[in-house]
């Protein structure tokens, strides 16, 4: 339960956060699920739609190739955006599986790009790129934008996780200071 003095002065509300550690875990795993667990259905649906929608749109722009995990000895192959994309939770977890198994259990879905020269046929002509990542950057116009969208989805879910764990940061009076916070001129009597 939130303490009463943390409440918005314009309304009376009590928010039951229940087991907030579990709510935070759920909020990470599935955006909005932590809030739904707490009975905060409106916000849960809002977070789910906004965060998953942003993530899905990013995947669409990048033709499904923008979320993958890659690390190793060569720093140029490290996929740093994944550090933020994993903030979305379960939707980004297949990339971890794909990165750890050479057999690629999910096919090419969220799989890291293949190394070495890659040749494809485009418009009847054979085209070779230095590696599959270079091919994606050349062939997919929305690759960078899709990466940005999925990263932002992960960051937004971090905010949602904090909200599930600690409740909202209430404004008091819509940004105006309360009367007892107003500075008083020197020598005036307090009310």
């Amino acid at each position: 339960m939130l303490p009463k003095d943390a409440l918005d002065s314009s309304l009376e509300m009590v928010i039951d956060l229940r087991d907030r550690n579990f709510a935070a875990l759920l909020a990470w795993l599935i955006p909005g699920a932590g809030h739904m667990y707490q009975g905060r259905w409106g916000k849960g649906v809002l977070f789910a739609v906004c965060i998953l929608g942003t993530f899905a749109f990013g995947m669409y722009l990048g033709e499904g190739n923008v979320v993958y995990a890659a690390w190793g000895d060569d720093p140029s192959q490290h996929r740093l955006p994944y550090v933020l994309q994993i903030g979305v939770g379960a939707p980004a977890l297949p990339a971890l599986v794909q990165a750890n198994f050479d057999s690629r259990p999910f096919g090419d879905f969220m799989a890291p790009p293949k190394l070495g020269p890659q040749t494809i046929f485009e418009n009847g002509k054979q085209r070779t790129d230095p590696d599959e990542l270079a091919q994606w950057n050349r062939r997919i116009p929305g690759f960078e934008l899709g990466t940005v969208y999925t990263m932002i989805a992960g960051l937004l879910n971090i905010l949602a996780i904090f909200d599930a764990w600690g409740g909202p940061v209430f404004f008091v009076g819509g940004g105006q200071r309360r009367e007892d916070d107003e500075p008083k001129p020197p020598g005036s009597a307090s009310s």
């Binding site: 918005d8 309304l11 509300m13 928010i15 905060r40 409106g42 916000k43 809002l46 977070f47 906004c50 965060i51 929608g53 942003t54 749109f57 722009l61 934008l145 969208y149 932002i152 989805a153 937004l156 905010l159 949602a160 904090f162 909200d163 409740g167 909202p168 940061v169 209430f170 404004f171």
Partner: protein, 68 residues
Amino acid sequence: MLPPLLLALAATKLWYLMPLVVSISLVYAATRHELVDEIIKHAIRFGIWIVGFMGVVFGLIYFLSRGL
């Protein structure tokens, strides 16, 4: 002729900003309030602030780059 064309091409990508502004505004506002009315009001104010700030930065960069 070329600079306005390039600007027009770049501007079409700016439409991709809109879903992001909506999403970020709503999620940020939702972390500040609990009631949907308050969330939407704050999200609208925040979205306008984002677009306005970016507009100011755009104007500044455009003005500074005019002599280049």
